[in-house]
Symmetry: C2
Subunit: 145 residues, 2 copies
DNA sequence: CGCTATATTTAGTAAATGATGAATCTACCG
DNA sequence: CGGTAGATTCATCATTTACTAAATATAGCG
């Protein structure tokens, strides 16, 4: 388990998730969790990633709320353990929900332009997006089973 | 063509494209172009959206480079006209390319964890993402014809 | 060759966001 | 109850980023 490759992995996952609109400390924590076999503590995360405890705390709660990590309270101690969940679905779902909002806005805009090339263009965009979202949802459904 | 609905449309498209990592002035310009029947000038855009000329200039060039708008130079004048293109494909393509980079990083990470639940989890994530991207590309291909 | 109309670049600014470190809170244990 | 080990919150700082306004560049026209 080469430490430098671990670090490289963590930062690249962090960078990439940042382009998915996650703060990149959060993305790095997720990256670390993905290559960590056992549930791990917030302090251990902070130590390995050289992040403040506060940052780790908020990152973990974000990951939890996105369904990307599971927080496991330990009976008999205040310490929390965290582990990645497989389900990165929620990221995709979030992206769908944004796309759907966009589609709705575009549909609304359809009534703003009179028939002609401009309206066709708008319809085109709507069609592509809608198809895209439909297929994506299908994949997600299939994945859930 | 109600001006207030136009404005509402423009800002919502702007807001939404901002979540796709476009600056939202750029998104608003795109929104405006989508509901504008004829090619329009940078000054007209600046006036309607109350943006500075500089902002419009960079927004338009961004849209152009993303393939979301076409810039039409006018012979006999320095003035440029701009119109939206239907193809919002490039946005989806960009999102795919990010996803593919992520997939590559994850595949690389696979070798960092020893066989077991952690590796399975990672494989799971990879599989979902890969399937998602594949299907999306298929839609794009179909759309291009 | 200027002059004008237009686009682009640049320097500066304001706002948003993320991270930190300290202070605070809370659960557990003696 | 008091103390301690932990997590969380909060105020602050730093960075980034998008926008503005002004300066600059360039194309066309007299």
């Amino acid at each position: 388990m080469s430490a430098s490759r671990r670090r490289a992995f963590v930062t690249s996952v962090g960078d990439l998730l940042a382009s998915w609109n996650l703060p990149h400390a959060t993305g790095r924590v997720y990256g670390l969790l993905l290559v960590t076999e056992e549930p791990t503590s917030l302090d251990a995360i902070a130590a390995e990633l050289e992040l403040s405890k506060g940052a780790v705390s908020t990152a973990v709660r974000q990951l939890d709320s996105w369904g990307l990590a599971k927080v496991i309270p330990q009976p008999g101690s205040r310490r929390l353990l965290v582990e990645a969940t497989g389900g990165i679905e929620s990221l995709l779902e979030a992206s769908h929900s944004r796309a759907r909002t966009l589609i709705a806005a575009l549909r609304d805009g359809e009534t703003l332009v009179s028939p002609g090339p401009a309206q066709d263009r708008l319809r085109d965009v709507i069609g592509l997006f809608a198809g895209y979202v439909d297929v994506g949802s299908e994949i997600l459904d299939r994945y859930r089973r």
